[in-house]
């Protein structure tokens, strides 16, 4: 592989222009394949773990949010025990608590009432509301109407839209 001197993107040997930034890659010598020890990798994974979120607090003291992965926005989940997720459409009687329409919900294949988040004192659960395109947690497709526990960092996929659960128990004042 060779490395772009401008953006460090890696390309196959012989490539003339970086596909990431368009920089010309002439006289760039191949970089040898480096072996990285497992410790280094774990270290890096630890360093890049999502930082604890800041945000509104629940009465239980937990901080809970939902990160919309394509845009990076964080929606706070506060004030209720149940949140329905879906998209509103014209003339619809019941609208979801969290309307994903502004993230192109339709294109992502999200149903009008797609899933529900249930927030307990120290648990979060997701239930697929028999949606057309299904709900996937960490790569596992959920059976409709069967609650699935969620933890901090879990990836929740509605249709093709990916969301990440952010939760942290408030540290008790000393």
């Amino acid at each position: 592989m060779i490395e772009c001197p401008n953006c460090k993107h890696r390309e196959f040997v012989g490539t003339l222009f970086c596909s990431e930034c368009g920089t010309r890659l002439i006289h760039v010598t191949p970089v040898p394949t480096m072996s990285i020890s497992r410790e280094e990798l774990t270290e890096e994974a630890r360093a890049t773990r999502p930082s604890p979120p800041t945000g509104p607090e629940l009465s239980s003291g937990a901080i809970i949010g939902l990160r919309v992965i394509p845009t990076g926005e964080v929606l706070s989940l506060i004030g209720r025990e149940n949140f329905t997720l879906g998209r509103s459409s014209e003339g619809q009687a019941v609208v979801p608590d969290i309307d994903l329409n502004r993230y192109d919900a339709y294109d992502y294949g999200i149903s009008r009432m797609h899933a529900e988040l249930r927030i307990g004192d120290d648990t979060i659960q997701v239930v697929d509301l028999d949606s057309s395109n299904g709900t996937i947690v960490n790569g596992k497709r959920l059976d409709p109407l069967k609650p699935e526990p969620l933890r901090h960092g879990d990836i929740l996929q509605l249709g093709r839209l990916r969301l990440q659960i952010i939760s942290r128990q408030k540290s008790h004042p000393r």
Binding site: G14, T71, G72
Partner: protein
């Protein structure tokens, strides 16, 4: 070589097929053609040919002898071919590596010097979108543009005008087109109204072309539209495929910014035609004249690139650079359209070569350029191209040919634009805006002030509305694509 004699083609396998591939191809053909079950006349002969081909190729000795014979035949064919092809490589030799590497080729296809120059009769169909959105200036400009084309029509040419909305009708038939007064009267009846169903228009336009189809002529369809078609996309692509089979090229002209560029690209590239973005309908007269002019200069039509990549080689992209820049898809055969006289068709191929063990040479690709000479009533000619490279251990310090470097430089800009658009569509707004800013800087460096400005405007637009404007999207796409047409700097 008579077309029926290529054993590899008979079995439908690449030139470097493994014995396993040969066996599979033979088994498949035998199942289909075995004399015990066949009914159609001529199939027994075909089966005998297939058996002969298989027997010759499966034995290493007879295969080597046959390969030598084939090479000699192809050399003869190349020498007598009415067109020639020059090949430029990004590197003189490939590296002996245990990882994949990239290699680029430019094929420059042009007519041989003694090619007869005959103006081909033109068979043209102009298909006009008359949906509600075309009302007013757009339809007026199109109407007057079409009239000037009919006025300039040569006696040997034929033309027809088709209009479509939810359904299609022939506005000016090829007989009416010869009588200017009738044509004018018929065109004045053309009114805007209704939806956009492109398949309706394409289908009737192609039907009109088939009515006055001549093998020694050039048949072409121009589609003028300003909107999107819904639900009949697959049918449109099938029609484009049929058009390609009968040697009809389709140019799509998108007026305004609400048409689907990817879809029109898909239609045109299947036929070897191109897509033109018209920001304002005023330019339509000039454009139609340019297309008509180009058609009158065609010396070889139905140019196609067919063949297969080598065993260890994958085709990554194919892009036509000349006479008009157009992406070509990644599967053979590729329709290259028409070759104009005193000009060339240039194609850039980008390929990934996987590690090669125990060989000093790598077969990159076996290609054949095919085309029909317009002066010779539909004679199909073929120019075989076997492209190989040697392998070395020493890195090549020689810079790549300037023509390849400059084409790739511009292609890199075009790709940045595509990436930014893709990211914007995924909602990665910040990333897309950064890319557009970097594109603007590079466009400025290339002296393209207007395009650089358009890129910056889109970066601002993204920040405000989280999407690109449909107009900006097309300006950047077709603007950066048009850059690829820059006259190649010839090495002397």
């Amino acid at each position: 070589m008579p077309p029926g004699k290529d054993y590899y083609a008979i079995l439908g396998v690449p030139r470097n097929a493994t014995p396993e591939q040969l066996r599979r191809a033979f088994r498949e053909a035998a199942l289909r053609l075995h004399p015990d079950k066949n009914i159609a006349p001529g199939e027994t002969e075909l089966f005998l040919e297939v058996s002969k081909a298989y027997e010759t190729l499966i034995d290493p000795d007879s295969r080597a002898a046959y390969d030598a014979e084939l090479a000699a035949l192809e050399a003869d064919l190349a020498a007598s071919s009415p067109f020639k092809c020059e090949i430029l490589h990004s590197r003189e030799a490939l590296l002996r590596l245990d990882e994949p590497q990239v290699h680029y080729l430019i094929l420059d296809i042009h007519g041989s010097e003694d090619l007869p120059e005959v103006r081909p009769p033109i068979n043209l169909s102009i298909v006009i979108d008359r949906s509600t959105s075309m009302k007013g200036q757009r339809l007026d400009q199109v109407r007057s543009a079409v009239l000037t084309i009919l006025r300039d029509l040569q006696p040997e040419d034929t033309a027809s005008i088709v209009a479509f909305s939810d359904k299609a009708e022939v506005v000016v038939s090829s007989t009416q087109a010869k009588d200017l007064a009738t044509a004018r009267a018929r065109l004045s009846l053309l009114q805007a109204g209704g939806g956009t169903e492109i398949a309706q228009g394409l289908s009737l336009g192609l039907e009109e072309l088939h009515r006055s189809f001549a093998k020694e002529g050039v048949s072409h369809l121009v589609l003028l539209t300003d909107g999107r078609t819904y639900g009949d996309e697959d049918l449109c692509l099938q029609l484009a495929e049929q058009a390609m089979q009968s040697g009809i090229t389709i140019n799509c002209v998108g007026i305004g910014s609400d048409w689907s560029d990817r879809f029109l690209d898909d239609i045109s590239s299947r036929t070897g035609g191109r897509v033109i973005f018209l920001n304002s309908p005023k330019a339509v007269t000039d454009l139609l004249h340019r297309i008509y002019e180009e058609l009158s200069k065609v010396v070889v039509n139905r140019v196609r690139l067919d063949g297969s990549m080598g065993q260890q080689v994958d085709l990554r992209t194919a892009f036509k650079l000349h006479p008009e820049p157009m992406p070509l898809g990644d599967s053979f055969p590729m329709a290259l359209g028409n070759l104009p006289k005193n000009s060339s068709i240039r194609v850039l191929l980008e390929m990934v070569v996987h590690p090669i063990i125990g060989q000093d040479e790598v077969v990159l690709t076996h290609l054949a350029v095919e085309g029909t000479l317009v002066a010779q009533k539909g004679d199909v000619h073929s120019l075989p191209l076997d492209i190989t490279r040697t392998l070395t251990s020493e890195p090549d310090t020689k810079p790549p040919p300037e023509e390849i470097a400059s084409a790739l430089n511009l292609l890199a800009l075009h790709r940045l634009q595509e990436k930014a658009r893709h990211e914007a569509e995924l909602g990665q707004v910040a990333q897309a805006a950064r890319r557009l800013e970097s594109l603007a800087t590079q466009l400025l460096a290339a002296g393209e002030k207007d395009l650089a400005k358009a890129a910056l405007n889109e970066a601002v637009q993204l920040a405000q509305s989280r999407r690109l404007s449909t107009e900006g999207e097309k300006t950047l796409k077709y603007g950066t694509r048009a850059l690829l047409l820059l006259p190649p700097r010839r090495e002397t």
